[in-house]
Symmetry: C2
Subunit: 218 residues, 2 copies
């Protein structure tokens, strides 16, 4: 019997890195896809490429920087300063890429149709959905319904971490013995994680909650 | 009072050309956006640029050719022959760009959020929805619901031609005295419309149904 094909949206960060491995372990034939929409943390994409090479997976890395004129209010793609410290509504909103998850899912669905894959996985999780509208359960449910009717071939959207927080995801990865040195999280694109941006802060909290050390630090 | 802002997905073809003018006449401040996804009829985009210049509209033309690796089964973007004659399921299916309208709408919604526009217009119509899943009323209704929840700012999807056929759209444009010499329809990218591809065939049927001559045909 042929393995079921699945598209996995894989940014190179720790959530989608864990998801990628979970989907592989579930026996799917996995097609990871990464998107470069001009985010400052392009080092994430380098991490994604490296991991896919190691795992011998057919990685698609799609350059979406041409859509920037449509998105130019966001801190992650524009010229605004990166927010520091704990995520909070007032400094998180500037990190919002307008309609990001709908854009990425719409492309992943297209790829699934093209491959004859029936499922698309992405790493939306509870740590996000309080603040990001496109990580909420009603968004995921709605996109799953749309993916079933927008092409002749129905596709399902899977977000298995939807009710996890980042520490839950990390615990799952630790149980799979994953090496988080192969991931990248920092919003700044320097050689080492800055340790002060909101993304670094959130990553550090997850490692602290799990009682383990981040292999990227020190 | 400031005019309401609206994003209009404008390909340069006759449907979205008519739509663009209708939305302008309704008093909106219009932001047309075109997408180049490697379609053979790139002359459509040249027509779109020309019309936006004439109307002094802030046209965004977004190069999406980098997504082609995700879509490479389609005749419009790949290396397959363009179907000839009347549209029929067996030759239309090859013109399907996987998940096209969800991709284009997701980007138009992002642009609307960025602009502070509350509405996105696109030219889905009845002549399409029999065969194209992403021109059906249930697709439009579903995307309208998603656009209201996927960002902090709700956006509405408007498809005013949903229950029109192409001849109805042309009649509306004739009533507005629009010049269809400013549109492009042919799937082939030659100097003159080929007259034989499915798109030319459908255009000719619309002009015949309205009892008027196509100004593109000498």
């Amino acid at each position: 019997m042929n393995a079921r094909k699945a598209v996995v949206i894989y940014s190179g960060g720790m959530d989608s890195f864990t998801l990628l491995h979970q989907v592989i372990q579930q026996g799917y034939q996995v097609y990871p896809v990464s998107f470069d929409y001009g985010q400052r943390h392009a080092r994430e994409l380098a991490a994604a490429k490296h991991v896919c090479q190691m795992l011998n997976l057919p990685h698609q890395c799609i350059d979406l920087r041409s859509i920037q004129p449509l998105l130019d209010q966001s801190a992650l793609t524009g010229q605004h300063p990166v927010p520091q410290g704990t995520y909070a509504p007032e400094n998180l909103q500037i990190t919002l890429v307008p309609n990001r998850n709908m854009i990425l899912l719409s492309l992943a669905i297209a790829y699934a149709v093209n491959l004859g894959a029936n499922e698309c996985f992405y790493g939306a999780h509870g740590g996000d959905h309080v603040l990001y509208p496109d990580c909420r359960p009603e968004f995921v449910t709605g996109m799953d319904q749309m993916a079933q009717i927008s092409n002749l071939q129905p596709v399902r959207i899977r977000a298995p971490f939807l009710h996890y927080d980042k520490a839950d995801i990390l615990r799952l990865g630790q149980a799979m013995h994953l090496d988080y040195a192969l991931t990248w999280t920092c919003y700044q694109g320097a050689e080492q994680p800055c340790g002060t941006c909101s993304a670094c802060h959130e990553r550090a909290q997850a490692f602290a909650a799990c009682g383990c050390a981040d292999p990227l630090i020190g």
